[in-house]
């Protein structure tokens, strides 16, 4: 075993598990779960081992399409610092989620289908992480879309789940189309899709010779992130994807799907950092997304939807980080910490949902802190991590990563920086709203009174995840994985402002929701998600109905005219004329036949 084959083993182990489960998993639940978990554990151990190895310098690839001097597409793996860190994140979270699923999915339908889907999902994500060229990345990008479709639609007999999976796939396709165009533009300009060739100084110089073209290409590539990482305006699929099983949401939000968009930007960063115009677009999309999603999160009632909007908001931070920071370490650092605390929060939500017998409305919960003590503790840890609690260099993991992004934003683009800072306050508000309503106060339903702590197989992954969620951002850990830098000349007021935001948001939530029986605040605009979903529904309806009507009309009156009406009438007319030749006299036929033979002979001889 050497450092050249290990990435391939990491990549294909989950696929092998998925295939075997697909064929044989239906006969045995322990077999399919064991195989999937075993595969992730192998991936996890190998990823950590690989992390300790130096970066690969030799290309590790074989050619899939090879037209020398014209176009060649290698299928290869990149083993550099970025992919090693991402492998560690993905393959640390995946085994925990898989093990947690044992408890969560115990009594659910389609057990083997679920584990096969999870393994395929992991395989797709690892393909993106390891890809050494854009085409391979795009293939796995689409595979991630497919796997998410399968898993979000796990409860496919339910209409809402089937619709949500369809929506996730279609919305992603919109972003992917831009991504594909961006890749094609880059390929057209440089003749290569391989990262190591794209990031050479000659290629960069060549690209920079045509500034506008490069900017458009970068923005189009960013469209892929907008779809996959659920940025405005393509964020609508992510909250609806909550129809899937909760562990899927955890995996999807922490490691395997939405992170792909940010990871791709980090991978593309060597080009991106030379395109300030594109980075402005990226920063603004990220900043606006993080604010708007946080506003929407403040008025949701479904525990998973709150977390979904908070994911969008946090992804907004990361994308903002790509737009303003001077290296990819800054957004990837937040991705790293976010992966742990968001996964933790989702698994906590799953634990609550199981304890509440599949009730997801937070206004039916309450006072769960004594009944589910471990889940409560873990949720506190996750909440403090996501809200970035801390001051003077000591705090929970989110404090380090998020504040670094905000500081960069404040220095580089003050407006966005203060938007991000305000969003931090909103984050504290909606997360403490969730925490207070679910775990404190009084029970608001019979289920809440009878709730119970989840089994050990679910609690242990929670506790394991709580550790990195708390300490994942501490400088000594950060320096193992990242080399983040803070901007110079940060106004010291930022630190105080962020602490004030945290205290303000949390305090407001405490005052408002401490004894609330139902939501005392009602802002229909936020509860209805700024009516963006309704707008999309309307647009789709108008366009779809219009196009359907047009297609129906042209099919009936244009296509049918030429392929059905005209040929049928013509055939009928020819038949009508020709049937007068049917004389009904056998000798006439014999005569025609003879005349034909004579005519043919004449033609043959006369030539």
């Amino acid at each position: 075993m050497d450092a050249a084959t290990v990435p391939w083993i990491i990549l294909f182990t989950p696929l092998a598990a998925a295939v075997v489960i697909l064929f044989f998993g239906r006969y045995s639940k322990p077999f399919s779960a064991g195989l999937a978990i075993g595969a992730t554990l192998i991936c996890g151990i190998l990823s950590w081992w690989l992390f300790t190895r130096p970066d690969a310098t030799e290309p590790n690839q074989f050619f899939w399409i090879n037209l020398p001097d014209i176009f060649s597409v290698p299928i290869g793996v990149t083993v550099d610092h970025l992919s090693k860190v991402m492998l560690v994140v993905v393959n640390t979270i995946a085994p925990l989620v898989f093990i947690y699923s044992l408890g969560y999915m115990k009594h659910e339908e389609g057990y083997w289908r679920y584990f096969a889907g999870l393994s395929l999902f992991l395989f797709s994500m690892l393909g993106i992480v390891l890809a050494d060229n854009f085409l391979m990345m795009f293939i796995f990008w689409e595979l991630v879309g497919l796997s998410s479709y399968i898993l979000i639609g796990h409860y496919y007999p339910k209409d809402s789940a089937a619709d949500a999976s369809k929506q996730a796939f279609l919305v992603n396709r919109i972003g992917d189309f831009g991504f594909m165009l961006g890749i094609l533009m880059l390929w057209l300009a440089t003749g290569t899709v391989v990262f190591s060739q794209l990031f050479t100084s000659e290629t960069l110089a060549l690209l920079q010779g045509n500034g506008l073209y490069l900017t458009i290409a970068c923005v189009l590539i960013f469209c892929g992130t907008v779809g996959k990482s659920a940025q405005l305006p393509l964020h609508v699929w992510l909250p609806n994807s909550m129809e899937g099983p909760t562990p899927v949401s955890a995996l999807l939000h922490a490691a395997t799907m939405v992170a792909a968009g940010v990871f791709m930007l980090a991978r593309f960063f060597p080009v991106l950092e030379h395109v300030p115009a594109a980075r402005d677009v990226i920063a603004w999309v990220g900043g606006i997304t993080c604010l708007v999603a946080a506003l929407m999160a403040t008025q949701q009632d479904d525990i998973k939807r709150i977390l979904a909007y908070s994911t969008i908001s946090q992804l907004g931070y990361m994308v903002l980080g790509v737009g303003v920071a001077e290296s990819w370490d800054v957004p990837m650092f937040h991705l790293f910490t976010h992966a742990f605390f968001k996964c933790l929060l989702f698994l906590c939500a799953g634990s609550v949902i199981v304890g509440m017998h599949h009730e997801q409305n937070i206004w039916k919960m309450g006072a769960l802190k004594n009944k589910m003590p471990f889940t409560f503790l873990c949720t506190i840890a996750g909440t403090l991590a996501i809200t970035g609690f801390g001051f003077h260099g000591i705090g929970f993991s989110g404090f380090y990563s998020k504040d670094t992004i905000i500081m960069w934003a404040v220095v580089k683009a003050p407006v966005l920086g203060w938007i991000a800072a305000v969003t931090a306050g909103l984050t504290a508000f909606y997360m403490f709203r969730l925490l207070i309503v679910v775990f404190l106060g009084v029970p608001r339903s019979e289920e809440a009174k009878k709730a119970h702590e989840s089994p050990l197989v679910m609690v242990v992954p929670l506790l394991l995840l709580a550790i990195p969620a708390v300490i994942g951002g501490w400088p000594f850990i950060e320096h193992i994985f990242f080399h983040t830098t803070e901007p110079e000349n940060v106004p010291s007021i930022v630190h105080y402002a962020l602490l004030a935001m945290f205290l303000g948001g949390a305090g407001l939530a405490w005052v408002l929701y401490r004894r609330a029986a139902k939501d005392p605040v009602s802002i229909p605009l936020f509860a209805n998600r700024l009516y963006i979903d309704n707008l999309y529904t309307w647009i789709v309806k108008v366009f779809q109905d219009g196009v359907a009507w047009l297609a129906g009309w042209s099919d009936r009156w244009i296509v049918d005219l030429f392929v059905a009406q005209v040929p049928s009438k013509l055939t009928w007319a020819c038949g009508y004329v020709l049937r007068f030749l049917q004389l009904g006299n056998i000798q006439a036929y014999a005569f025609f036949f003879g005349a034909g033979v004579v005519g043919l002979i004449y033609l043959l001889i006369a030539r």
Partner: protein, 107 residues
């Protein structure tokens, strides 16, 4: 007077013409059928004649023509069996052997 190839071919042509005329002009389907056989045998006659008068350098006839005639006779025998069976079936269905009465396919 010696018989030459031309005599045989003339006889063959006459037989073929008679057959053709019969097929074209007669109305009884059995007669038409017999005239068809006559045309076949006219062809056989010319084949045999060609074979007999087209000697090789060793003075042997060209047997290909004669073998072909055997094939034609064999196939014609099979064809007669089928044809007569059709005519019998036709007569049972329509009680007629006159082709003028068989025009139900006419428009």
């Amino acid at each position: 007077m010696t018989l030459t190839l031309a005599h045989y071919l003339a006889a063959s042509g006459a037989l073929f013409t008679i057959g053709l005329a019969g097929v074209m002009l007669r109305r009884n389907i059995i007669i038409i059928f017999m005239c068809l056989e006559l045309m076949l045998n006219a062809a056989n006659l010319s084949l045999v004649a060609f074979s007999r008068f087209n000697l090789s350098v060793e003075g042997m006839p060209n047997y290909s023509g004669q073998v072909l005639v055997f094939f034609i006779i064999t196939v014609a025998a099979a064809e007669v069996a089928v044809g007569l069976a059709i005519i019998v079936a036709l007569f049972r269905a329509r009680q007629t052997t006159h082709v003028e009465d068989l025009d139900s396919m006419k428009f």
